[in-house]
């Protein structure tokens, strides 16, 4: 059972590093920083645990013994981190779907008129804030009031377009 336990411990350590970092400094390109932080924390922590398992017999008994098991523990910890990274945008950029459901629930049994939602969820909140995110992540750039994609942004857009074409889907949104 040492592999899943070590994976859980590696992820918990990486999450703790992320939490402490976010209290002190909140980066603009938060997605990229979050990925780097989790990957580096897991690799460093795994390196420390591997060294411990080689040098200390007392601790070594609780840790994976073979290279294959260590790699599996690291892959699982990275997989848990990837799941967290995919969830994170909903924490940082409040998903409109969750906002709508929350707003309707707050009104209780009488519910909500659509016009209330149109008024509360403005273009600035729903669209322009995300355009600014694209600029912060260096996926787009603003020049003389015009927003255009950077090379990275074009690459990302093409990846998603290709995927949606493969599945024969429209533009989404």
């Amino acid at each position: 059972m040492s592999v899943p336990i070590v994976s859980g411990a590696l992820f918990c350590f990486a999450f703790a590093v992320h939490w402490v970092t976010w209290q002190a400094w909140r980066p603009k390109a938060s997605g990229q920083v979050l990925v780097s932080l989790l990957v580096v924390s897991i690799i460093i922590a795994a390196g420390v645990l591997i060294s411990l398992s080689l040098t200390s017999t007392a601790v070594g008994g609780w840790l994976p013994a073979r290279a294959g098991e260590w790699l599996q523990a690291i892959v699982l910890a990275l997989a848990i981190s990837a799941s967290y990274v995919m969830t994170y945008p909903a924490v940082e950029c409040e998903s409109p779907t969750l906002v709508i459901v929350d707003a309707i629930a707050r009104r209780g049994p009488e519910g909500l008129e659509l016009n209330d939602l149109y008024r509360d969820l403005s273009d600035d909140f729903l669209v322009m804030a995300r355009v600014n995110d694209l600029c912060n992540e260096s996926l787009a750039i603003e020049t003389d009031g015009r927003f255009a994609l950077t090379q990275r942004g074009r690459f990302l857009a093409r990846v998603f377009m290709s995927w949606r074409t493969l599945l024969r889907l429209g533009r989404g949104g």
Partner: protein, 168 residues
């Protein structure tokens, strides 16, 4: 170090690739049944293959089977989000809109193509389709609470990370 120690890697890769293939095949064969049913079909097919492969390698340590199950579930979650993101993420839609215009778009031009009203309407339609909300007269009311639970979890996570409040 022996190559046999990495048996789990092949198992994990095969199951994840199989899930993707079943998903793509399902979407192309039954386009009217929607993206999310296809994802469920891929997940279940991958799960069945995972169970068969685990049974065939039953002599390996239980912890490693459990870790592989964890890898498969995490992969499926990430794959679901990747597809969900391509379907619903505003940033993805905006990059696709901007891709067609090399010289860029002004704020007004962006809002002509994609705006708050369209975003709200798309989500209301999806929420009605999945019965998360329902019409009562000219008002929308709460339905199935699963997305509301997700909103509550996200709220808690925001508190843990002490994220600042949003400007609407």
């Amino acid at each position: 170090m022996r190559i046999a120690e990495f048996w789990w890697l092949m198992s994990a890769v095969v199951v994840c690739v199989f899930e993707i293939l079943v998903h793509i095949l399902w979407v192309r064969l039954f386009p009217s049944r929607g993206l999310y049913r296809a994802l469920l079909a891929g997940f279940l097919a991958g799960g069945a293959l995972f169970a068969a492969m685990s049974w065939a390698t039953f002599d390996r340590p239980f912890g490693q089977h459990l870790a592989n199950l964890g890898i498969y579930i995490c992969f499926s979650y990430v794959y679901f989000h990747w597809n969900n993101m391509s379907e619903t993420a505003r940033r993805v839609r905006l990059t696709i809109e901007l891709l067609d215009h090399e010289k860029g778009l002004t704020r007004e031009e962006i809002l002509t193509r994609y705006n708050g009203r369209e975003i709200v309407d798309l989500r209301i339609r999806r929420l009605l389709g999945s019965r998360q909300i329902e019409w009562r007269g000219n008002r929308v009311c709460r339905g199935n609470p699963s997305v509301l639970m997700m909103a509550t979890i996200m709220g808690r996570l925001r508190q843990i990370l002490r994220a600042p409040p949003f400007d609407r």
